[in-house]
């Protein structure tokens, strides 16, 4: 490990966290803190999907399975079992890892579009279970009665400010871990498999094993996104496991940049802003969103951050 790099990354992460925590002083409204909390959930979710799509070359259409799973697992554990938040948090990650291992073991042996659709099928299976198992999940009404948020270690997540700081910490910590993950030997192997899985096999890499590990890691982080959202809305809804949630994450990746680590974060900011602004201006939100995504797909395939970095690198090259 290059110690200096780790310290630098850690310092940047801490600085980013401090800035995030202090931002409400400049933007004191509830709308801002709510926006950042929603952003935390979606940014983690979209970045975790990009571990599969951008880094491993596995285009999952059903990543929302883990968003929904995270939300419902956490909310149900808090509501029905009355556990503490840290225990429910860790248990949710465990449940997600287990389900991701089972689903991944089935899906990753399939190629390309078959993989994509099978993941989608598993997501819709979860959605169907949520709708059908009304006594447990509340069916299409979602979980009623709220998610209890008992204090732990002096942290009271029913206090909006505490919840805001908590979500910021989880956002920064998750991105920090994923950032290091893609720079680990495992991250290099993921990129090798994305580029040329056949060649990777001839280097001694068991491709299916690496893909499965990537699927599990992405699933665990995807569930963290859902968990944060269930904390925020104090419930869980079937929409969290609906296919559109996977679509939104794909749009975030497309808009921010698939080949840049922070692309999904930028995409999440853009999509949530679009959602908040456009829905205020017109009722034809879906139409507007469709046009904007079409523009990205046709004219800005690198995504916004990808394009900015590309243009910057080009400018540097031309000046040197």
């Amino acid at each position: 490990m290059r110690g200096s790099t780790v310290w630098r990354d850690t310092a940047i992460a801490v600085a980013a966290l401090v800035v995030l925590v202090l931002l409400p002083l400049a933007f004191p409204g509830k709308a801002f803190s709510d926006f950042v909390i929603r952003l935390s959930a979606f940014a983690i979710f979209a970045t975790s999907l990009n571990l599969l799509v951008g880094y491993t070359g596995l285009v999952s259409f059903g990543h929302g399975l883990f968003y929904g799973l995270g939300a419902y697992s956490f909310a149900l554990m808090m509501q029905k079992l009355g556990t503490s938040i840290p225990v429910a948090f860790v248990a949710t990650l465990g449940v997600s890892a287990l389900i991701a291992t089972i689903v991944g073991a089935i899906c990753i042996r399939l190629k390309e579009i078959y993989f994509s659709f099978l993941t989608l099928a598993f997501q819709m299976l979860l959605h169907s279970i949520i709708i059908a198992w009304t006594p447990l999940t509340g069916g299409d009404q979602g979980l009623t009665g709220g998610v209890p948020r008992p204090p732990f270690l002096g942290i009271r997540l029913d206090d909006p400010h505490h919840l805001y700081v908590f979500c910021c910490v989880i956002l920064v910590a998750s991105l920090y871990v994923m950032w290091h993950l893609v720079r680990s030997p495992f991250g290099y192997t993921m990129r090798m498999i994305r580029d040329n899985p056949r060649r990777a096999e001839f280097l001694g890499v068991r491709v299916w094993r690496v893909r499965l590990l990537a699927f599990v890691v992405a699933g665990v982080f995807g569930s963290v996104g859902g968990l944060l959202m269930s904390l925020f809305v104090s419930s869980a809804y079937p929409d969290f496991a609906y296919w559109t949630i996977s679509g939104e994450a794909v749009f975030m990746i497309l808009m921010g940049g698939i080949s840049v680590f922070f692309g999904p974060l930028v995409g999440a900011v853009m999509l949530l802003l679009l959602n908040d602004v456009v829905t205020r201006m017109t009722e034809h939100y879906s139409l507007m969103l469709g046009i904007i995504i079409l523009c990205f797909a046709l004219g800005l395939r690198k995504g916004l951050l990808g394009f900015v970095l590309w243009a910057w690198a080009r400018r540097r090259a031309s000046t040197s």
Partner: protein, 251 residues
């Protein structure tokens, strides 16, 4: 070192490999030649686990590796480069070789950010130096010239520290000058590493100059084997592959 016994492989009704028996001694440099469709690449594919043989044994030392998967065969010490350079276009040269070194050392699923390790870095530098790619260490593999991509493909195999290295047409698609440079590099590698090197090649000048022994395949069988002079004058080889023009040209 590497022994193939009664190897068979068919695709549908076509017998691609039809009862091959061959032995490659340790540390030798052998060329495998033959007309298109003779089964040369299929032979490599069987040895490296890309195909599973229908029948026969492939002995690496005393262990039968026939039917093992490619990663298992790689772990046992067989490296391979491809006819069309098989690389990772979005990784730099250094990242590519570092990835191969990691895979070889079993570090490729490490999640902790202890990378690049000093040992991995040192081996990566050595491999880049061996094939002369050090000046292009930070170039994206996809942006390399055709010749450099072929070198990188070979470097990937070298990063595995193989006991047996298989090169499928290392000079394919190159101009005359580049070809000789490439084969000189390969020859130097072999001299330095003294591994068992088997290469498929169509350029007979290269084959006759560098190979210690030559194996000729035709229709999935061994047509002839021997030293370059024996093969050059072998009537069956002249008839099936070299042609009389080559014989006359050689004078």
């Amino acid at each position: 070192m590497l022994t193939v016994e009664n190897l068979h492989k068919s695709f549908g009704g076509v017998n691609a490999i039809n009862g091959i028996d061959l032995n490659f001694d340790e540390g030798t440099l052998t060329a495998v030649i033959g007309p298109n469709g003779a089964g040369k690449t299929s032979f490599f594919n069987l040895i490296t686990g890309a195909f599973r043989p229908d029948k026969g044994r492939i002995l690496l030392g005393t262990e039968d590796i026939a039917g093992l998967s490619s990663p298992e065969i790689v772990k046992r010490g067989i490296g391979r480069a491809f006819q069309i350079a098989s690389i990772f276009p979005s990784l730099t040269v250094r990242e590519t070789i570092l990835g191969a070194v990691n895979a070889h050392r079993g570090w490729h699923t490490r999640l902790a950010r202890r990378f690049p390790l000093a040992e991995a870095n040192a081996q990566t530098d050595e491999v880049m130096d061996l094939v002369g790619l050090t000046p292009k260490a930070d170039t994206l593999s996809g942006n390399l010239s055709h010749g450099d991509q072929k070198l990188l493909d070979i470097a990937l195999a070298l990063a595995l520290e193989p006991r047996v290295l298989l090169l499928d047409e290392p000079t394919a698609g190159m101009g005359p000058e580049e070809r000789w440079q490439m084969i000189d590099t390969v020859h130097q590698l072999w001299q330095r590493k003294r591994m068992t090197l088997i290469f498929i090649e169509h350029d007979m000048d290269i084959v006759f100059k560098y190979a210690q022994t030559i194996r000729v395949l035709s229709y999935g069988t061994v047509l002839a084997e021997g030293k370059p002079d024996e093969i050059r004058n072998h009537p069956k080889v002249i008839e099936a592959y070299l042609g009389t023009a080559y014989e006359k040209g050689r004078g």
